[in-house]
């Protein structure tokens, strides 16, 4: 994996105008049933605004190692097929490859998952949902980029609506190459991810918290109608 680029690096991308928030998100005065007038600010009042926090490791290394072993052996994938690579997840679940024997299983909601597999091309529209879902996952959480689209844009390298480098928008722990990768490649990738986690290097969530401003700036660079709070857990 490429070294993480620190904030403040040169940005050669074009500045884009900010768009005003949608009408339903703007602060407004509403009348309650008993006639009282109150001001609501949807983005402030309906969501928690607190930015993500860095979770320090346990005080004793041996305890943290135990935690990491447990985390590595219970990989719960968020069932959100973002691109064509998601098709390879089905055979993985079925008896032929049976990923469950490795402690890998699929979950229906971000709250129950700790691994987000971005399975290929990510359009700007989907990126927005992916960010929301990622932020709703519990710490510690991991991101695997599947297929060349997540690495450099793949065959959508000149597309107007798909991002090219996933690691600029979400902290990626591991990439699996291919277009699309076979289930065996996914299994190998998951085993590699286990090694990363056991070595205590699966720190994507903390990296996200530490470089929050940089990630947000990148995300807002492409998502023009930012109609969500900055951190939407």
């Amino acid at each position: 994996m490429e070294a993480f680029v620190k904030p403040g690096e040169k940005n050669r991308l074009k500045e884009r105008p900010e768009r005003p928030a949608k009408e339903e998100l703007q602060p407004r005065v509403v009348t309650t049933p008993d006639g009282q007038e109150i001001t609501v600010e949807p983005l402030k009042d309906y969501y928690c605004e607190a930015p993500p926090k860095v979770h320090p490791p346990a005080y004793f290394k041996i305890v943290e190692d135990l935690f990491n072993w447990a985390r590595a052996e219970s990989i719960w994938i968020l069932g959100f097929g973002t691109g064509c690579g998601a098709i390879e997840m089905r055979p993985l679940m079925t008896p032929r490859f049976d990923a469950y024997r490795y402690g890998i299983q699929w979950r229906p909601t971000p709250r129950q998952a700790n691994l987000f597999v971005i399975s290929g091309y990510l359009s700007v529209k989907t990126l927005k949902r992916a960010i929301r879902s990622y932020e709703q996952m519990q710490n510690p959480k991991y991101v695997v980029g599947l297929g060349s689209c997540t690495i450099n844009g793949g065959m959508y390298w000149d597309s107007y609506n798909t991002i090219k480098r996933l690691d600029r928008y979400l902290p990626v722990d591991l990439y699996i190459t291919g277009c699309m990768p076979r289930p065996e490649a996914l299994l190998a990738g998951f085993l590699e991810l286990k090694k990363i986690i056991k070595a205590g290097k699966g720190e994507g969530a903390n990296r996200y918290a530490e470089n929050f401003a940089w990630y947000k700036a990148n995300q807002k660079q492409v998502i023009h109608d930012w109609d969500m709070p900055d951190y939407s857990w």
Binding site: E2, L13, K14, R16, P17, R19, V124, K125, K128, I151, N152, G153, W157, D158, S159, Y160, N161, T162, I163, K164, R165, R168, N218, Q221, V222, I223, H224, D225, W226
Partner: protein, 177 residues
């Protein structure tokens, strides 16, 4: 198909006619005639299904081509109506009142080509793109590569080879110029 086109020809002024197969033909009609022709096809000739509505940007000629493909299920044949409209003032009468499904096509054409269909339901709402600020991306003067370069991050190291010269280099290293 021949009879059908002859019958249409007696009722309306038709433009170019291309018969692709026994069960598929394309006919050009003037924009202001389209609704009449398509209503006739639906109500009299039994074309019950709007297969698609799509556009082509003929930038050299300064016009858009709209193609309305309709299908007659009982006779198993299709006819495509071609309409050319001005590229600068890209506006066309909608057919969403004849086929409700057309509204979705019209919304897409508004977003991707900037062709307006006044009065079509939700025509000004975003369809696929969210927060798009540039010119409609399917217009041919939109430079998608340039846009991608200015908008998204590149990973250094990706190289592109012209297949012809690359293979020549590999196979006949001495001869390649």
């Amino acid at each position: 198909m021949k009879d059908l086109i002859d019958r249409l020809g007696t009722l309306f002024t038709l433009g170019d006619i291309t018969e692709k197969r026994d069960d598929l033909a394309f006919v050009s009609v003037a924009p202001d005639l389209l609704r009449a022709v398509i209503t006739h096809l639906r109500d009299v000739e039994g074309f019950s299904h709007l297969v698609l509505l799509t556009a082509v940007d003929w930038i050299e000629g300064g016009r858009f081509q709209l193609t309305y493909l309709v299908n007659n299920r009982t006779k198993a044949c299709d006819i495509g109506l071609r309409v050319f409209i001005d590229r600068e003032e890209a506006t066309m009468a909608g057919i969403h009142d004849l086929w409700p499904t057309a509204a979705t096509y019209q919304r897409e054409l508004k977003e991707m080509f900037g062709i307006d269909f006044p009065g079509s339901p939700r025509i000004d709402e975003e369809f696929i793109l969210e927060g798009w600020t540039d010119i409609p991306p399917y217009r041919r003067d939109f430079d998608t590569k340039k846009y991608a370069e200015e908008t998204y991050f590149h990973r250094p190291g990706r190289e592109t080879f012209d297949p012809a010269t690359h293979m020549k280099d590999k196979l006949y290293p001495g001869e390649a110029s």
